[in-house]
Structures are given as structure tokens and as C-alpha cells.
């Protein structure tokens, strides 16, 4: 009993390519709460939960992504999963809510580089122009046939959250797009 087992991510088996990177393990929590609980959740989590649609807030190593009017994806360092969850449950004690751990449900791919938006455009139907999709914007959307959460972290840096079983597909499409771009 108590033998220790290793954690491995959905993308561990894939080779890395330039400008595509699989991000390491992270804590992910899906929080559902009505507007009355937002303030309490914000202070419990230490990040102001954005109430403006499709925006992400960051504080330190944590981030809160608006996914819906009563739905946030909370990101935190992997090691903090338990204490973050506990703090939120405490802080939200008076408010009906749902907090569900999804750390392993999805994984993240970071697309970084001058042509990041152009690369994403091969599968993402949204306008990724900086004016239409500014830094700090995040949303659920589709990448080709994979549902994703897309978050612009910098002018040329996007983070994609994707359910783990779709990750190889996403990766292959992006990788193919990269290679095509180089061949042209």
C-alpha cells in the first residue's frame, strides 16, 4: 500500500515542436455560482472573478477565466489544488454554488510566436485580431473538431485548454499547419 505512482499528462507522448508547447500539470477548478457569490469567491480565491464576458483575470500564479455568466475556470499551481478548493468551499459557504475539480480533464497547449494568430486561424473560427480578441480575452470555442478554451495571454501568445482526449488531435492539426507554413 502507498506505493507512489507517477502522474503523466495527455501530451507527454508527443514530440514538441517549435512554438507549440504542452504546459505542465496545473490545478483547474470549475466554479459555478450566482452573481451574489462572486465577491465571496473572489476573495476566497484571491483573484477578482471577471464579470465581463470572455475575460480572464490573473493574480500571481492564479487565474480566473470567465466561461459563462455563472461559470469560471480557475487555474492555480498544481500543488495548491486542495487548499484552493478548501478556501473556496469555505468562502462560499453561504452561497449555493458548485465547485468541481477538473485538473486532469484538460491540458494546455501554448502557441507562442509572431504567427500564432495565423496558425490558430486554420481551425479557430473567431477573429483573432488584437482589436477583436485582445490580450486577456478568453472563451470557449472550437478548434477544427475539438472544443477548446482559448485565452490570449499576450499579443503573440495563446493558451489553449483542451480536453485531454482531444489534445493529440489539436496538436497534430497545429503541427501540420506549422509545417505547411514553413513549406510555403
Amino acid at each position: 500500500m502507498g506505493e507512489s505512482v507517477e502522474r503523466e499528462g495527455a501530451l507527454d507522448l508527443l514530440a514538441t515542436a517549435t512554438r507549440l508547447a504542452a504546459s505542465g500539470p496545473e490545478a483547474r477548478l470549475v466554479l459555478r455560482v450566482r452573481p451574489a457569490g462572486v465577491a465571496a469567491a473572489s476573495s476566497a480565491f484571491g483573484v477578482d472573478l471577471p464579470t465581463m464576458p470572455c475575460r480572464a483575470e490573473r493574480a500571481g500564479a492564479c487565474a480566473a477565466l470567465w466561461l459563462g455568466p455563472d461559470e469560471w475556470l480557475l487555474l492555480a499551481p498544481a500543488a495548491d489544488e486542495g487548499c484552493v478548493a478548501a478556501a473556496l468551499e469555505d468562502g462560499l459557504a453561504g452561497h449555493p454554488h458548485s465547485l468541481v475539480t477538473a485538473s486532469h480533464r484538460q491540458t494546455a497547449v501554448v502557441v507562442d510566436g509572431a504567427r500564432a494568430a495565423a496558425l490558430l486561424a486554420i481551425g479557430c473560427p473567431l477573429d483573432l485580431d488584437l482589436a477583436a480578441f485582445p490580450v486577456g480575452m478568453c472563451t470557449r470555442t472550437l478548434f477544427a473538431k475539438a472544443p477548446i478554451v482559448l485565452w490570449r495571454q499576450g499579443v503573440a501568445r495563446f493558451r489553449i485548454e483542451v480536453w485531454r482526449s482531444f489534445a493529440p488531435y489539436l496538436w497534430q492539426v497545429l503541427d501540420g499547419g506549422l509545417r505547411e507554413g514553413l513549406a510555403e
Binding site: 470572455c54 459563462g68 455568466p69 461559470e71 473560427p125 473567431l126 472563451t139 470557449r140 470555442t141 472550437l142
Partner: protein, 94 residues
């Protein structure tokens, strides 16, 4: 691919949405009180109009919310979209 105004997220491409059929068909509060005829109508009868259509969409690959819209089924242009609870211009229940 239509461009659909989500009341929360703004104009977004159709493939992010799932269609929810005719709007304003509320599930009866007490189905047991309905005759077979009435229940059958609730389940299956649809207006299916040519022209203005009050309908439901869900921004399934976006904010995940259902909302109501009025669309012209001939031109496919949207007239309005409303959050649930907001009174749609057609005046019906949302």
C-alpha cells in the same frame, strides 16, 4: 455559416451554437393533467413558420447559455436575441 448574436458573447459563428428549436414551448407544469392530444401537441406540433421565428439557441461552445432569438427563416437574418427572462419582442414566454 451564420453569425449569431449571443447576448453575452456578441456575434459568434454558428458552429459554436446548437439549435434548440421553436421557443416559447414551456413544459406543462402538470403534464399528468393534459389529455393525450394536448401532450402530443406539446411534444410534436411546431409552428415552423416561413418568416419570423422565435427560437432557442445555445451557445454550446461558448458561454454555454440558452437564449431566445427571432430570426427570419427566409433570409436567415436575426432580428433580436434575448437572454432568458428578458421579454422577447414577440411577447411570448421565454
Amino acid at each position: 455559416m451564420l453569425l449569431i448574436p449571443c447576448p453575452w458573447c456578441g456575434l459568434r459563428p454558428e458552429i459554436e451554437f446548437s439549435y434548440g428549436g421553436e421557443a416559447n414551448i414551456a413544459r406543462p407544469a402538470d403534464p399528468a393533467a393534459l389529455t393525450d392530444e394536448e401532450w402530443g401537441a406539446f411534444l410534436y406540433l411546431r409552428t415552423n413558420p416561413k418568416g419570423r421565428h422565435a427560437e432557442r439557441w445555445r451557445h454550446a461552445n461558448g458561454c454555454g447559455r440558452f437564449f431566445n432569438a427571432v430570426r427570419d427563416t427566409v433570409s436567415d437574418f436575426f432580428e433580436t436575441t434575448t437572454k432568458p427572462g428578458e421579454l422577447p419582442p414577440s411577447g411570448g414566454k421565454s
